[in-house]
Point group: C2
Chain length 212, copies 2
DNA sequence: AATTGTGAAATTGTTCACAGCA
DNA sequence: TGCTGTGAACAATTTCACAATT
């Protein structure tokens, strides 16, 4: 039972995307070298990442594109539908509801929540918006497995506490603040400003060489 | 001239945000231990990160909150305004235009581009939308330093090539595909689906312990 | 002949532990 | 005394290099 690093998981996502593209382009097989080149990695890195989960290729021949894609898909849990709820229908939240990639990968946004009476009980992109008051109950009843938090900073911790109390173990947090959760809950944090800051760092410190 | 790692830059952003909060809360000074605790890091990590750029604290006392915030802000290039252009006014693009954190940190979205005639020459959140046809010319004329690409996958590379040809050196890419650019151009890649995949990995592989 | 899978080596990143200073 | 700054120790990650396999 090895410990899988964040970076390996991230790269698996990248491989999955590349392999999907190669599949549509009609490539039947693919080598670690080819896969590595498209993602700017080394072939050894690709093989090492895969080796944590088994051996999926054939020596001398490479990997079957379709098979490897499916194996990685299974590792990433993309072989079935996940029930997702999204909290907060501001700018970011609204954009996420229509974000095509989510549906494509099997992330089904089943519930929407907001605390604005003007939005509650109306449909948003075909999904009824519920009151945050009913959050815990509805998360439980609908067997929600992943929650996306897209509320303002000040509300983030409060909402997170409710989500945790509903038994949800995985949270994607778009609020630009760290939220505190118990050990067994996984939070991924997306902060767009942080990425811009990275770029402005690069512009401001061209004397430092920066890893890419 | 040390080589600064991605993770150090990322943490500097986190310190900056924490320090801003501590400043508003009225903390005059702060120790590496306190700062570390709020970000779930070790005090040594905080001090090491800072040590790459100089020595900002006082032995026995800690750091002056305001001063450290400003020093880190300067390192991250947040001490002045950056001219930003955003290409693609779909769901993600529109959300980003209204994203408050950007303005707050000095990222000024000066230009918007789209290729949809219904959007061109109209105002979007107070900013006139230009035709992508005029991209190169306008990027140059307006001294744009950072470009945010929020166009569909198929258009991403084409747009990126134009951006590069206009001399822009830093790109934030929201299109769910890797774009190829010359060595001297820095691209940061934000893929929301990837973060959800990380969560679904965690749900699917609870036997693997995952780093947080 | 080509390419995987994988221990071992090299590199990078993190933490320790303590000297140095207010 | 308390806390920073940092070289040395340690841990994690990546790359190398080669045996194994088709």
């Amino acid at each position: 039972m090895p410990k899988i690093s964040d970076s390996t998981i991230r790269r698996l996502s990248m491989y999955y995307r590349s392999l999907s593209e190669f599949e549509t382009k009609g490539y039947k097989t693919i080598s670690s070298e080819h896969l590595a080149k498209t993602e700017k990695l080394t072939p050894a890195q690709v093989r090492k990442d895969l080796s944590f989960f088994g051996s999926f290729g054939t020596r001398g021949l490479g990997y079957k594109t379709r098979e490897l894609k499916e194996r990685i898909g299974k590792i990433l849990g993309l072989d079935h539908i996940w029930n997702v709820a999204l909290i907060g229908l501001g700018n970011v939240g609204s954009a996420l509801v229509s974000y095509k990639e989510f549906q494509k990968q099997g992330f089904l946004i089943k519930l929407l929540f907001d605390n604005d009476q003007r939005k509650i009980n109306k449909k948003h992109k075909g999904i009824l918006v519920s009151d945050v008051k009913d959050l815990v109950e509805k998360l439980k009843n609908n067997k929600i497995e992943i929650v996306i938090i897209a509320v303002p900073t000040q509300a983030a911790q409060e909402v997170a506490d409710l989500v945790v109390s509903a038994g949800v173990k995985t949270i994607l947090n778009f609020a630009p603040t760290r939220i505190k959760v118990p050990q067994d809950v996984v939070v991924r944090f997306v902060n767009m400003a942080m990425e811009l800051e990275h770029l402005s760092f690069c512009l401001s410190n061209q004397d430092f060489s920066v890893a890419t």
